[in-house]
Amino acid sequence: MDVNEKFSGMKKGLLEFLLLQIIAAEKVYVADILKQLSETEFATQEGTLYPLLSRIRREGLVDYEWKESGAGPPRKYYQLTDKGRDQLRETLKYWDRINGTVKKLGQNNTKPLS
């Protein structure tokens, strides 16, 4: 089985985490988010992103405001709320712990991996 396919479920779960990361850095609108993700293995489409954004907004992690764009109608720009910031901090800590665990458990392996 392809590694990509195998971890698709894990990637889906991580997407929310990454979304918080991206939004934490600067106020963004959906096309920005898609562009940033498109260069990674987390490339995503609008069809996935909108429902996800609306859910984390409902959970109070992000917020949006309408901003005029140069051309065309106004756009929704997303930003992190305090709650979102807290959650991101915690998730980052948790991520570090997991990372540590993965590496530590690997060290007990006497045989090198191929």
Binding site: G13, L52, S54, R55
Partner: protein, 378 residues
């Protein structure tokens, strides 16, 4: 040469080739269906429309005013399929795939009880309950009718609920009522009737409301016809104009007798724990027997009641005011039953005795029920 359809996305008109329009229409309908249980459905859909509009805008220029089918296909594949919320989907991971959407609704938004007017027969209470429990409204209606036959409790509960339970008006409320097929239907109906299509549909809200009013009028006329047929059927040929006069007192007497029988059985049940000498099965609770007696009475007297009402019906109420008929019926019933009871108490000493001991019997029964409850809950 291709036909062009004008659509309205996010407040701006776009011209699409017909094939492209069909594709977009299907895409949006699928999206609406997948987001059926999402509380933010409308917002997500308008986000998606906006995103599509933005992509179309990028395609069009001064000399290009129509989005061709190939471009619509490209835009849709760029958008990607609308996914149900990943987190909600994982909450219901243990559920079978088919049930996923419904469970997602249970996890996402709490269900609430609303009256639902679409397809309602009276005020939508039964409909709302049916949607809440995800069952056929006919069963709920039957349940209410049965309860009404027994003690009139159904009618009372219905009236209270009709007043207390709020109506589902907005799409959000309708979604909250069920996570519901109604909303999907409503959405598809809107889509079909030109929600996305600037050239079709009702010209304005006024026309839509007028259409709804007309629909309700038609439904009411139907219900009235149905009712008349029903009573006509029970009245039968013999109980036509001349016959009804003779049948009615007879029917009233019969029903009065049934009521007295009910009282006798109840008294015997409470005082001797037998049904007129017929012993209950061992350890069979008295209250259950009483319930069954009421139930049997309801079933027995329902046709009598209907037959009597149909007599009033054939009594020269070609266009009867239903309320008066029922009031009259109730009054006559009370009078007949009262007279019969009075006569029975006067002429049958046993019955008089029983009535006199009724308070203490009721006391006893209450104690029995309490004991039974205690012993069974231990």
């Amino acid at each position: 040469m291709n036909k062009v359809i004008t659509i309205n996305l996010d407040g701006t008109a776009y011209q699409l080739e017909e094939g492209g329009y069909d594709l977009l229409h299907t895409y949006l309908e699928t999206a609406a269906a997948r987001l059926q249980n999402n509380p933010d459905r409308d917002e997500i859909l308008s986000d998606i429309e906006r995103a599509i509009a933005e992509k179309f805008r990028a395609l069009l220029g001064n000399n290009k005013t129509v989005v061709v089918t190939k471009e619509v296909t490209a835009v849709i594949s760029e958008m990607g399929p609308i996914e149900g919320d990943p987190a909600q989907a994982s909450e219901s991971a243990s559920a079978p795939p088919g049930g996923e959407e419904r469970t997602a609704a249970a996890g996402g938004a709490p269900r609430r009880l609303y009256k639902i007017h679409e397809g309602a027969m009276v005020s939508g209470v039964c409909n709302g309950i049916a949607v809440y429990f995800n069952i056929d409204p006919t069963w709920v209606r039957l349940g209410f009718v049965l309860l009404t036959m027994l003690w009139g409790a159904g009618a009372l509960a219905y009236i209270v609920m009709a007043i207390v339970v709020p109506s589902a008006r907005s799409p959000e409320e309708k979604a909250a009522a069920s996570g519901s097929p109604f909303t999907a239907q409503e959405f598809i109906r809107r889509a079909k009737q030109g929600y996305y299509d600037a050239t079709k549909g009702f010209p304005d809200a006024q026309a839509r409301r007028e259409w709804q009013r007309q629909f309700k009028r038609d439904m009411r006329a139907n219900a009235y016809h149905w009712q008349r047929h029903w009573y006509g059927f029970w009245a039968g040929g013999a109980a036509g104009h001349p016959g009804a006069g003779f049948t009615l007192p007879f029917l009233s007497l019969l029903q009065g007798a049934a009521t007295i029988l009910l009282l006798c059985v109840l008294i015997s049940l409470l005082s001797t724990h037998t049904i007129l000498g017929l012993a209950l099965p061992p350890r069979f609770p008295v209250w259950a027997a009483a319930l069954m007696v009421f139930f049997a009475y309801g079933i027995l007297s329902a046709p009598l009641k209907l037959a009597r009402r149909s007599c009033y019906w054939s009594f020269g109420h070609p266009n009867p005011a239903g309320g008066i008929v029922f009031l009259l019926d109730a009054l006559i019933w009370i009078a007949v039953t009262g007279t019969l009871i009075w006569l029975a108490i006067h002429f049958f000493p046993d019955l008089r005795e029983a009535v006199h001991t009724l308070p203490s019997v009721a006391h006893q029964a209450a104690d029995d029920i309490r004991d039974w409850w205690k012993s069974s809950s231990r």
